[in-house]
């Protein structure tokens, strides 16, 4: 059984996710990735498709990530901090950031190799299911780390869509559109519901700071 102090510390650590804004922002960026894949598949000339995907997706990930973070901070200043307070988290040391990035890249490499190997050994139809499974495990890990039950549901959702992708057996890049689209929509729905509930449960307090030390 966890002590009330541990519970308070855990709640404080996951405060960043309390309003659903990070999920909304991440969902927006991932949906954009799905739309770019779809647009490239539908509209781009055949010779350009590979180039556009190779350049467009990293640009969206990096640019979207920077923009999303700025947007989250701005929205939190307007919506969250006046309602439930403001926290500054300690910045990770550069060595820890490099370690996290290294572990992330290593995990991505292992997942890519495993997916390629398993799909070569079995069938290409397995790729969406395996990708969905790995994405679900990643979401599950994040959910366990911050202690958020809604991330478990999101993991199930993503794995379900992975299985559906395998069953539908869509040609490239529509399999990617389905993968990014389902993940993005899942995050948008989860974030939207969380934000709605947060705003409903946390009305703006009256401005009065006379008693503060």
């Amino acid at each position: 059984m966890k002590s009330p102090l541990e519970t308070a510390q855990k709640r404080t650590r996951r405060y960043w996710y309390e309003d659903g804004l990070p999920e909304l922002a991440a969902g927006g960026v991932i949906c954009l990735m799905a739309l770019v894949n779809l647009a490239v598949a539908q509209l781009a000339p055949p010779d350009w498709k590979g180039w556009l995907s190779a350049i467009g997706l990293p640009l969206i990930v990096i640019g979207g990530g920077i923009l999303a973070r700025a947007l989250i901070l701005r929205l939190k200043e307007r919506l969250t901090y006046p309602r439930s307070g403001y926290l500054v988290y300690p910045r990770a040391k550069p060595s820890r950031r490099f370690l996290t990035a290294g572990v992330g890249m290593g995990a991505a490499f292992i997942v890519a190799v495993l997916t390629a190997w398993l799909s070569a050994a079995q069938s290409e139809r397995l790729i969406p299911a395996l990708t969905g499974l790995f994405a679900a495990l990643l979401i599950l890990f994040l959910g366990m780390r911050v202690g958020l039950v809604r991330f478990y549901l999101l993991a199930v959702w993503q794995f379900g869509w992975g299985l559906a992708g395998s069953r539908l057996n869509l040609p490239a890049p529509y399999d990617l559109v389905l993968f990014f689209g389902s993940l993005g929509v899942g995050l948008l729905v989860s974030g939207g519901v969380t934000l709605f509930r947060y705003l409903r449960n946390n009305p703006l307090p009256l401005a009065d700071n006379e008693d503060q030390p």
Binding site: L5, R11, G85, L87, Q212
Partner: protein, 108 residues
């Protein structure tokens, strides 16, 4: 079996041995800074009560209070000092020691 005496109560930090102040310091231990509103919401204290506890912790040098503005709104930011962090670590260690020894000698 040699029995170790329990550490004296005087060794326990009385300032931290108060649930509200312990909660405040525990929250501050996992962040760089927290504002007054967050601490009030998490501890469930009234403004006056929270102010009183913060003043005691500040006077002991366990926390630092910084008054600033965010736009036109006043913002009171609270952070744990290195002294406060050490005090919390010592307090938690001494309490664990108490509990462990009581578990070893349940009849006492």
């Amino acid at each position: 079996m040699s029995e170790q005496p329990l550490p004296p109560w005087s060794a326990v930090d009385r300032l931290l041995h108060e649930p509200a102040r312990l909660a405040i310091v525990s929250i501050l231990a996992v962040v760089e800074k927290a504002d007054f509103l967050y601490l009030q919401r998490e501890t469930g204290l009234t403004k006056g009560n929270l102010s009183a506890h913060l003043s005691k912790l500040e006077n002991a040098g366990y926390i630092q209070i910084e008054k600033t503005f965010k736009g036109k709104m006043p913002l009171t930011l609270v952070s744990l000092t290195p002294q406060g962090r050490t005090a919390l670590e010592i307090y938690l260690k001494s309490m664990k020691e108490w509990i462990n020894r009581m578990d070893q000698n349940p009849k006492e």
